[in-house]
Amino acid sequence: MENAIVIGTGPAGLTAAIYLARANLEPLVIEGPEPGGQLTTTTEVENFPGFPDGIMGPELMENMRKQAERFSAKFRTGWVNSFDLSKRPFNLFLEGGEELVTKTLILSTGASAKYLGIPGEKENVGRGVSTCATCDGFFFRGKKIIVVGGGDSAMEEAHFLTKFASEVRIVNRREELRASKIMQDRARQNNKITWSLNKTPLEVVAGNSGVAGLKVRNNSTGKEEIIDTDGIFVTIGHTPNTKFLNGQLETDEVGYLKVKPGTSETNILGVFACGDVKNNKYRQAITAAGSGAMAAIDVEKFLEQIENH
């Protein structure tokens, strides 16, 4: 039986693992389908303290993992299929049939990129529709690309994609962009970036070799048109990875786990949540890491309590 299982290897999960490992609790960390979390799909991280010249997202995550391994955190790749949280110790069932048992559980499964949910989109993921510019930009050398979204990430991805693409068009549903001024300015100064604002994506148009265009509606005229493109990068935010919990824990209406304010405690004793999977408005690497430390400390306290009774 494990003292603690941490599910997820973003900054929250890895920070929790570092703290637990340093406390000699030998945590088992389960790495799922998006190892390293959202930061592995970013380029340079300029606002994580301690790196005055910035650090590449994937490198930062690799460093956190090494730091956890240094104190003997155990890692394994696995897809958690289901849980039984109705009694302690908790049972976890992995894809492939394996069962794990643990006294405590830290959920740090984060959030994944959201899709538009329009016709033609899901079928063409990997055929021109992507949510990861750093992974897939390479395949669009000299091609035309659309980035959907108006936030900081959309600006950053568009800017990054101009390294490969001949033209990057930003499509946004509203006239105004959500992105910060510095990110907007950076994008506007890039002459490879063009704009289709106030246009709602309706359908991904595909041919034999994948994506060929994006059908949009002009929100002021109501007119529909197809914009030719070889790739569509969707950057419209994230959705929490809580579906696999099957409603065993309390979430808000969008699916983010609820924790007791100022702690990492969920509504089930012995189950803790940290990072982007829990209800939070900040969504930063540093706040995720901070909440990971909180979860680890909460686990330590909890284990002490149950062992003394």
Binding site: E31, P33, G96, G97, V125, S130, C135, D136, F139, G210
Partner: protein, 110 residues
Amino acid sequence: MDTLTLTKDTFRGQIENGITLVDFYATWCGPCQRQLPIVEELASEMKHSAFVAKINVDEESEIATTYGVKSIPTLMIFKDGYLLETMIGLQSKSFLREKLNLYLSIGDTC
């Protein structure tokens, strides 16, 4: 190491006979770095029944283009020269093992 490294010169000959799982990857792709050890383990587990191979898309962009790879990791299963299945994104070992076993069992009954 039971995983074969394919190039444009060896690719065709390899997929021609039997079942081959091919992992398209790049050194700069985070999820690919997690996929490789999974594929490696599968290669040694299945070395008596199926081939497991990898292709570096940086070095072998021709093959990637031919098969329309636009996202990595992408995994493909070939049987006797034909593409049977394309899987996009990081895949678990048990899922890949199941897929290979499925195609192996179809082979037995034909």
